[in-house]
Assembly symmetry: C2
Homo-oligomer: 400 residues x 2
């Protein structure tokens, strides 16, 4: 019995040792598998060596927290444990990430905090870390040695919301030279949990247009990037409270009655419907279709990136009732709309594929002409929307 | 002996109990002493309730970190322990802070992290949290219902540094209306560890000028806010590596040979010395005096906020050798310089008071005319520099 006992314990001991060795080897294999060609991310804070990205798209972070019990990298909805060295520096990497821009954060003993290595971006309702996995087609939004437009911060007071609002305005490189030229305007909206900074910071809208215009692939245009959140008459709360899709009930009024007149008064615009477009991503796409289809005397071009006005429904759309029957007369819409354009990433999560598909089915049923673009391999993220802007802007304000 | 022991232990127990009770009361008293009129800081992220500030200038923070062992508020070079409640939310407040803008951070189990409640600002070489203690004179930089200029982001390529550089340009509200008017230009520089975003974000330079111009206290002017870090021929490193006062050896060349020509070509400037000024804070003040005094054919007005070109020395200055004798001929300088202006906070730490005093003594010895302003009660921080800009800009580009 004693001997049995001894053997059994030894067997268990050996078994456990094997298991531990195996799992240790497994863990080591995972470590070894990461290709050691990590480079600092292109959106790091000045002089910061971490976070880094390797050729596989793995993200490596490093943070000094000698007293912490547990530190994790939280990216792509997965938390990766970091490993502490003898100096108290925690380091580790993620599995390969999809190319493009991703929000991420660190988790220190349960506290979700930004990584001080990265620049900060506004998304998911907060300023936080972001990282760029170099995309194969990154050239279209690269900073190049060619004429650059400027992005201006414009402050205006909204009587609708009784609040100060900030918007960003892109003017093309020749705007300050050709002082008699007037330009078409694209109103370009962000998504849920984002704000007016998104399209220039994460979206690189200015660089995309600089490149398109320099290559004569797009018409020089003004782009207005506003905050899509707006609620009526709540002094000092409005526009600083991104509480989700419910909090933009006054945006249509702000845009139609305040932003557009302000822009037409402040900039040399071509202030007619043929030279005014609206596009947006996700929530901004929903807003775009709602606003433009109800105001076709003001807009002739429409872009919906990863979103449509039936969101979040994936059900078949009845055009006789949907949006008060605005899509009933397809022929009339085709005459009025110069460009109706939709885009979507091939890896977007539900309900986007189903929702956009239901909308497209309705458009096709009504014989409404529209352009459709698929961003291969990207999800509900900024590389999808950069590509959408590139494609959409290259078609915009040209002859039908 | 046993009884003695018992009594002794009991005495010690009672003594310790009293001490603990006292310290507990003391701690409670400190808590109670904070006036309960805390309000969310004016520079919080959208919708965030914390950090808060009360009428005494105390800063209260609150963060949910159930697993943390220790969480602190780190502000004004003092770390304040936060207290955890039963839900794992850590809360606490600082001693009263001086009015104005302060950088701060949280410390979670030894990790210095930004507070997700506040907006982030670039200072001390990183993007981090900031808080506004309402100043008694905050009206001069308040956002008011009057015409607002715009702040534009301008990208240009520097051959000197072989790098892309971003600067921000303030144009007054009438710039886009009076298309034939030309404007004087103020080149306005940040301090050590800060960047081109500082003057608009922390400094509120645009609002200060909007207010001054609307009240006709200042001449409408263009303000150029550039990054003062520049080193020669280090591709892709320059301007993103604020490594201290040594790393701006090429800034003079960038400013004189690239920025000024680029601004004069891109904006409707009055491109002569009488209508060109330079000012800066701390490191930027040092750069300003070095550059302007050596280029009086290009600049006629000079502002040094919390800094002079003898920094960090507090020793008496010999004008026959200082800056190669540029201050030897006071009379000649008086003829050339329209406005020579210095400002300092009354609570600035060493070596600033001594260093600026030594510089002023030299100016006086040489009979060089200059304006001097003291910001009462403020340190080497942004309220000092906001006030300096307000005073300096109200004198700028006016008849001598």
């Amino acid at each position: 019995m004693n001997k049995h006992c001894y053997i059994n314990f030894r067997c268990i001991f050996i078994f456990v040792t094997i298991i531990l060795s195996c799992s240790h080897s497994l863990a080591q294999n995972i470590q070894i598998k990461a290709t050691e060609d990590f480079k600092p991310s292109s959106v790091n804070q000045p002089g910061k060596q971490y976070p880094q990205v390797n050729s596989e798209g793995r993200v490596r972070v490093s943070i000094s927290v000698p007293q912490a019990m547990k530190v994790q990298l939280d990216i792509g909805a997965v938390k990766y444990d970091l490993v502490k060295d003898e100096k108290g520096i925690w380091t580790g990497e993620s599995a390969p990430q999809v190319e493009g821009f991703h929000y991420y954060q660190l988790n220190v003993d349960g506290a979700s905090v930004p990584d001080l290595g990265s620049l900060f971006f506004y998304g998911a309702g907060r300023w936080g870390s972001g990282i760029e996995i170099p995309a194969k087609d990154q050239d279209f939004y690269a900073l190049k040695d060619l004429p650059h437009g400027i992005v201006s911060q414009k402050i205006y007071f909204s009587k609708t919301t009784n609040a100060w609002i900030r918007c960003f305005v892109y003017t093309p490189s020749d705007y300050d030279k050709n002082l008699t030229t007037r330009y078409p305007v694209l109103y370009l909206q962000h998504g849920s949990g984002e704000d007016e900074t998104g399209w220039a910071n994460q979206g690189k809208a200015n660089l995309i247009l600089d490149n398109l215009i320099a290559e004569k692939k797009a018409v020089p245009m003004i782009i207005v990037m506003d905050n899509g959140y707006a609620t009526k008459s709540k002094p000092k709360e409005v526009n600083t409270q991104p509480t989700g899709i419910g909090a933009f009930n006054a945006f249509k009024e702000v845009l139609m009655n305040e932003i557009i007149p302000m822009i037409d008064a402040s900039y040399r615009t071509l202030a007619d419907r043929e030279h005014r477009a609206m596009a947006g991503l996700s929530m901004g796409a929903n807003q775009t279709i709602q606003i433009t289809i109800n105001n076709l005397d003001k807009f002739a071009s429409i872009g919906g990136f990863s979103g449509t006005s039936n969101y979040p429904s994936t059900a078949a759309i009845d055009p006789s009732t949907f949006m008060n029957g605005k899509f009933k007369d397809g022929e009339a819409l085709n005459k009025q709309i110069k460009l109706f354009w939709l885009g979507l990433g091939t890896k977007e999560p539900n309900p986007f594929p189903g929702s956009v598909a239901a909308f497209r089915t309705m458009l096709e049923k009504q014989n409404i002409k529209y352009g459709y673009y698929e961003s291969v391999g990207t999800s509900h993220e900024w590389l999808t929307w950069r590509r959408c802007l590139y494609e959409f802007a290259s078609l915009l304000f040209k002859e039908k």
